[in-house]
Symmetry: C2
Subunit: 408 residues, 2 copies
Amino acid sequence: MFFRTKALDEALDIVRARFHPLEEAEVVPPQEARGRALAAAVRAPADLPGFARATMDGYAVRAQDTFGASEGAPAKLRLAGEVKIGQPPDLHPPLAPGEAVAIPTGGALPPGADAVVPVEDTERPASKEVLVFSPVAPGANVMAPDEDLRAGQEIFEKGHRLRPQDIGALLGVGITEVQVVRRVRVGIISTGEELVPPTEEPRPGQIRDINSYTLRAQLEEAGAVPKLYGIVPDEAESLLVKTREALGENDLVLLSGGSSVGTRDLTLTVLSELGEVLVHGLRIKPGKPTILGISDGKAVVGLPGNPVSAMVTCEVLVIPILQRLLGEKERPRRPIALAELARPVPSAKGRLDFLRVRLVRREGRLLAEPILAQSGAISSLAEADGLVTIPAESEGLEKGEQVRVEIW
Amino acid sequence: MFFRTKALDEALDIVRARFHPLEEAEVVPPQEARGRALAAAVRAPADLPGFARATMDGYAVRAQDTFGASEGAPAKLRLAGEVKIGQPPDLHPPLAPGEAVAIPTGGALPPGADAVVPVEDTERPASKEVLVFSPVAPGANVMAPDEDLRAGQEIFEKGHRLRPQDIGALLGVGITEVQVVRRVRVGIISTGEELVPPTEEPRPGQIRDINSYTLRAQLEEAGAVPKLYGIVPDEAESLLVKTREALGENDLVLLSGGSSVGTRDLTLTVLSELGEVLVHGLRIKPGKPTILGISDGKAVVGLPGNPVSAMVTCEVLVIPILQRLLGEKERPRRPIALAELARPVPSAKGRLDFLRVRLVRREGRLLAEPILAQSGAISSLAEADGLVTIPAESEGLEKGEQVRVEIW
């Protein structure tokens, strides 16, 4: 078997070409759909707000009655009543010429009125008299019945991920059920003779299996439903059996574990047995020994064993697979801080580097200090505030250079 | 009562001065602590990795045996065995001078060895012979027993919010329980005669109560535990009773509802009755009619009724209160996109403006198109991709100006 390592963009093109959005949808109330991807576009079922609504506290008027009004020569209108908030528009008799009706923000305009004069542009010299000091145009300070949304208008497209405000928007137009793509199920298998569960005390030479838990938390944060399959010894048959089991129960399977050549070869053997190997080696650092395979349309990813490498590769390759399965649009997911690089950092040309940095404020400047610990170091997981991407064509970054830090 | 409106920064100073981190902590396993704030600093219970570990596949050697080695004159070492991954270091006899032991990445160095020669710098001309073509320094390709973490070293400070990688780090050092600040409970009360629950069909003049649900989703996303108290009519006694009930059960209470002057006055009356009004009016847009009060050390916030205003004010004022109660460090929370403003936007000097924008890619450029809909519009909730902050000292932004868009 010969494989050329691939650039991350090539790998992502393969992801788009070979994996497809899940077909199954679930129907849930909007209140329970935060973070879910829409399985179908959503359209407004009716005009909104559905009635002409005041957008300021003031007086509902016929705009033409205010034309020419000024500080020196106010329009004098007869106060014909008051609209209460929540009251239907037709409760009030139609506005006759020269009349005004008091109205609160959100109130429904009575028939005949076509504008609202803000209360601060008026005076009430007598209980039944309103002076207007400034003219209003028709439609001023009024939201038209279909101004917010027209019946049938598309509100969200298919694949849109619902944010808090979208839940408000859906409920606001009277939608009480939405179709969302079902959650993606991800199986996580750990491999490596040296691994023990984190609840066990490792003997010298052993280490605790932490990647399963970091990956699980990353996937939960991204909205997937991860399931752990425990630690499998470095042995082809056991790994094959466990991977088959996980493939049967999930949409995507991650093999995370040993970074030694032996374990990597084993993962490759299992992926070849189960289907087709699509990517063997990525031109990124950390994350080079990543393997991507496909089995019956499902993705199987062999992640590097180093905790930092596993986490980075999950972010840049596994999460995009997840988004592909959900039919989600690509979107920025991480906060960005602009900082000054505190030290020069070399980088190999032809390789995409993800540099871990600590953010430090010094003399009013935000500095990004590269963390040079090995990617097997657990402390560097905790210390890093974020990542700086060094493009493949770059040979490194200068000290003092402005960098974009993706906050993790 | 006379109140001067406050700048957002003044309001946030008041938040820091008048509200204090919750004292109660909970003990949870790291796997269940994602997104939680630490109630106490965490220190490493032991050295990590605890043994000298190879960081590459190769041969464990005494570094001095390789000094002077070159392509032309390799050091010739005797292969004295193989270390298996997970095997304790003392299983192997001490390395004698001139010996090498095969070792995988992650393997424990046998006694006597102090460096690892990468496999690519070696050759194996015979089964018991290793040629080393390049010298290694002591410690090369080895992680020292306390290199990752020293026993007692602080890993996370109090108030740190646990990320996926932090869960891995905690488990990796053998910590199976952490103290986290208990979740903040937030009561949400809706006010406004015009409001009906979103499951009801509003009559003309009425609108659905959506702010409760947008706020609930925003607060859930921020890690709080929100509880809805339904819609209360615009009447002081009912609102007072309901607010007292919510204050008894929560750490923070939000009153969200009517934007009319009447409803605002009502909120003010209730806040004055229950405690002290700290902020009455913010110099931000949208969000001006915001009120902040304190009752028995608990925050009560009167939010504007417009959906966009309520959402923005929740983000810029309520979430910081939440973070204060958790003792969290301030940190960037939103992804940022840099874009070109598609149209000029005026702004009043002395007021902080939050401009809703739609992001559009056109001819390879990312444009931020201002959304000019009124802040009562539900469609504009759905349409906006993010917010641009226009500083108080600015009189507006030019067309083509580069802006930072906070993605919502």
